[in-house]
């Protein structure tokens, strides 16, 4: 069995009559953290939605754990935890209720302690956990969404701007979580504007421009990516 967790082959996706992905290809191994960097409209979120099976490619294939997202969306979704850009949770529910509800929908029945631990891991204040999310800041909501993604315990994690709205300390905590998950074999594909964060946690960083992967940087033996090179190329691509 191949250890490729995510694979995009010649992926072409059209949204609203416009080609957003134009023949993108890449592979991500199990336990790898791959960050996709790109400007607005480069096709970052579209890539994630295609792997979720929410968008059907007009050409090419998006595979998750060897299964086509377009052809077997239900099977694929059971392998994926997805963290959207804006924490997509219910305002009328508390953090606890949101977690319980979404997890029960995915047939997960975690113990209360596991819920507590997940919320501890994202540093959500204990006193806020019983309050409806409408009273939460954007960062607090994002923490709950991250906790939900963690609790799913899926082999693949798709993250859309995961650190958006988080304070610096929470960003650090989040990076620790990502590293811990990766070391446990979870495959992570994150799309982000955060160049520094991406270089800090990712094994590889891809630059996305106009729906195509134009360059990929790999971490060296020490796990570092030369941030200046990535930044220069990224800025070059943005100007071009």
């Amino acid at each position: 069995m191949s250890n490729c967790a995510l694979k995009a082959s010649e992926l072409e996706v059209i949204r609203g009559g416009k080609a957003v992905l134009t023949g993108m290809s890449f592979e991500i191994k199990q336990g790898e953290v791959f960050a996709l960097l790109g400007g607005n409209g480069a096709g970052k979120s579209t890539t994630l939605l295609t792997f979720m099976g929410l968008l059907k490619p007009t050409r090419g294939v998006a595979e998750v754990m060897g299964q086509s997202a377009a052809e077997q969306p239900d099977a694929v979704r059971s392998q994926i935890a997805y963290l959207p850009e804006s924490a997509a949770l219910y305002d009328h529910l508390t953090a606890w209720e949101n977690l319980t509800y979404f997890l029960s929908l995915s047939q997960c029945r975690p113990e209360p302690k596991a819920l507590s631990d997940a919320l501890d891991a994202v540093s959500l204040p204990v006193e806020s956990r019983g309050k409806p999310l409408k009273s939460y800041s954007k960062g607090m909501r994002q923490k709950v969404a991250i906790a939900l993604a963690l609790l799913r315990e899926t082999p693949v994690l798709l993250l859309d701007e995961p650190t958006s709205g988080l304070d610096p300390s929470a960003v650090e905590d989040f990076h620790d979580i990502i590293e811990r998950l990766a070391s446990n074999g979870v495959t992570i594909l994150m799309v982000t504007h955060d160049l520094y964060g991406a270089c800090q946690v990712a094994n590889r960083v891809g630059i996305l421009r106009a729906g195509q992967l134009v360059d990929v940087f790999e971490a060296d033996a020490d796990g570092n990516i030369e941030i200046n090179t990535v930044r220069d190329l990224f800025l070059q691509q943005q100007v071009a």
Binding site: R77, P84, Y101
Partner: protein, 480 residues
């Protein structure tokens, strides 16, 4: 719990915590209960009024002194239509048509030729009754409650989260439909409770009809639930969903019944009251005046009767020949009157059929017909009353005509106005009308009402299947 019940439970939790939804739910419950109470009180008042009026009319009629029988024919008698027990739920056309008829010789009065045209019957927006609440208000409140059931998930991006948890679009839409369906049940609660708590004589199967109505309304509201969730799934924003659903409500609930009845009245125009009266008078004139035994129209009758009894003159007959002329004259008049009445009723039914055909364009048209048919307050029930009243009138008049035949001689009858004494000799004992049976309308039984409800019932079944198909299509076209 399955994904469907989890989603339904969360939707209900959302409504419970949302003030707007809570207000809508309370309004729905309050309106349903108020409509049941108001309607119950109104119908009880009407029933009591009619019972009292009928008793008074019977008493006055039976208390008439000794009279010439033909004076009783013209004195006449009032009969009242007692309301169907289910008029509490759906008063149907009761308020649009006459519920009392003055019965007398040679005429069919009031309600028979009242302006009970289909135009008026179907176009009405409805009185404040449980039927009005369920047909008109409940869909509107369901729209207010459910228009954003799916669009809300799109706008807050929780749809991605749900799909990300492995929730299929069909489970999502079925769950949302289940929750909205439970809200719809609130509106049906008074009807169901009434069915379970109603007691007493049920020889006409009103309890069965009540449960039939509850089932019909369940289907009708389910159609709305499925349409609401489908449009919420198919459209991108809550604003779009609300606009489209309100438009649909206005067209199907407010406009379509009116268009249907207007179209029906234009397609089958009814003659005016005056036109009808003139045609009846003209036709009856040809049949002769039964007050005049010398009228040419009765020459044949005279010859036949004389031959039959083998006598030379009408004075030699063993009965009062004037009574016989009155008897045969009433027979002929009634034939003419019934012919016009049946013609009129056929026109009304034709208009109803045309109006009912609009049920394919609006479920409320089907629901109204279904509900009125089972409640026993539809047009055929009104016609049933008219025919029963006419039977009663005919029998009453002919009873008096027979009394005129048997209780006096022709000579006495012809001389009745000569003096007080001769007038007294033609008076018949008051016990003859004091013992007359009172008018009792036997409602059409459950089988007849069920048969009348079957066609609109099938149409509602079609709507339910169509709405379910739309929901299934929406699961494929769910727009994120």
């Amino acid at each position: 719990m399955s994904a469907i019940t989890l989603i339904a439970a969360d939707e209900l939790r959302y409504w419970r915590r949302s003030k707007v939804a809570w207000t809508v739910l309370l309004t729905l419950l309050l309106v349903s209960v108020c409509a049941a109470l108001v309607s119950n009180s109104e119908i009880s008042r009407r029933v009591n009024e009619r019972v009292a009026q009928q008793a008074e009319a019977d008493a006055i009629f039976q208390a008439q002194p000794d009279r010439h029988p033909h004076r009783m024919v013209h004195y006449g008698h009032y009969v009242y239509r007692t309301a169907s027990p289910l008029a509490v739920i759906d008063s149907g056309i009761d308020s649009m048509v006459g519920t009392s008829i003055f019965l007398e010789g040679h005429r069919q009065n009031s309600a028979t030729f009242a302006a009970a045209r289909e135009t008026g019957l179907l176009a009405r927006f409805g009185s404040f009754s449980p039927a009005f609440t369920l047909q008109v208000l409940a869909p509107l409140l369901l729209i207010i409650c459910g228009f954003a059931s799916v669009t809300r998930e799109k706008e807050s991006k929780t749809l991605y989260q749900l799909i990300g948890q492995g929730v299929s679009s069909s489970n999502l839409l079925f769950g949302k439909s289940l929750a909205l369906g439970l809200v719809a049940l609130i509106a049906l609660l008074p009807l169901i409770l009434l069915g379970f708590t109603s007691t007493g004589n049920d020889s006409f199967g009103f309890r069965q009809s009540l449960f039939g109505m509850a089932f019909g309304y369940l289907i009708y509201l389910s159609i709305w639930v499925l349409l609401i969730v489908s449009f919420s799934a198919l459209l991108r924003t809550s604003a779009q969903s609300l606009s489209v659903l309100l438009g649909l409500w206005i067209i199907t609930v407010v406009l379509m019944p009116r268009i249907a009845s207007e179209y029906a009245s234009v397609s089958v125009p009814s003659p005016t009251h005056v036109e009808t009266d003139l045609r009846i008078a003209e036709t009856m004139r040809a049949g002769g005046d039964s007050h005049d035994i010398e009228d040419n129209a009765f020459v044949g009758l005279r010859s036949l009767t004389l031959a039959e009894y083998n006598v030379e003159s009408i004075e030699d007959l063993p009965f009062n020949y004037r009574g016989l002329v009155a008897l045969r004259g009433e027979e002929a008049d009634t034939e003419v009157l019934n012919q016009f009445a049946e013609e009129r009723m056929a026109q009304e039914l034709q208009q109803k059929t045309i109006a009912d055909s609009f049920a394919m364009l609006s479920p409320v048209v089907a629901m109204r017909s279904f509900s009125m048919a089972l409640a026993g307050t539809a047009l055929p029930d009104h016609h049933h009353f008219l025919r029963a009243a006419e039977d009663y009138r005919y029998n009453m008049v002919q009873t008096f005509n027979r009394l005129q035949m048997s209780e006096m001689t022709l000579a006495e009858d012809l001389a009745r106005n000569d003096s007080d004494d001769s007038g007294r000799r033609t008076r018949v004992d008051a016990s003859n009308w004091a013992g007359m049976p009172v008018f009792e309308l036997r409602p059409r039984d459950h089988a007849q009402r069920r048969q009348a409800a079957s066609q609109p019932g099938f149409t509602m079944g079609f709507w339910l299947i169509a709405a379910f198909c739309l929901l299934l299509l929406s699961t494929r076209w769910l727009r994120t």
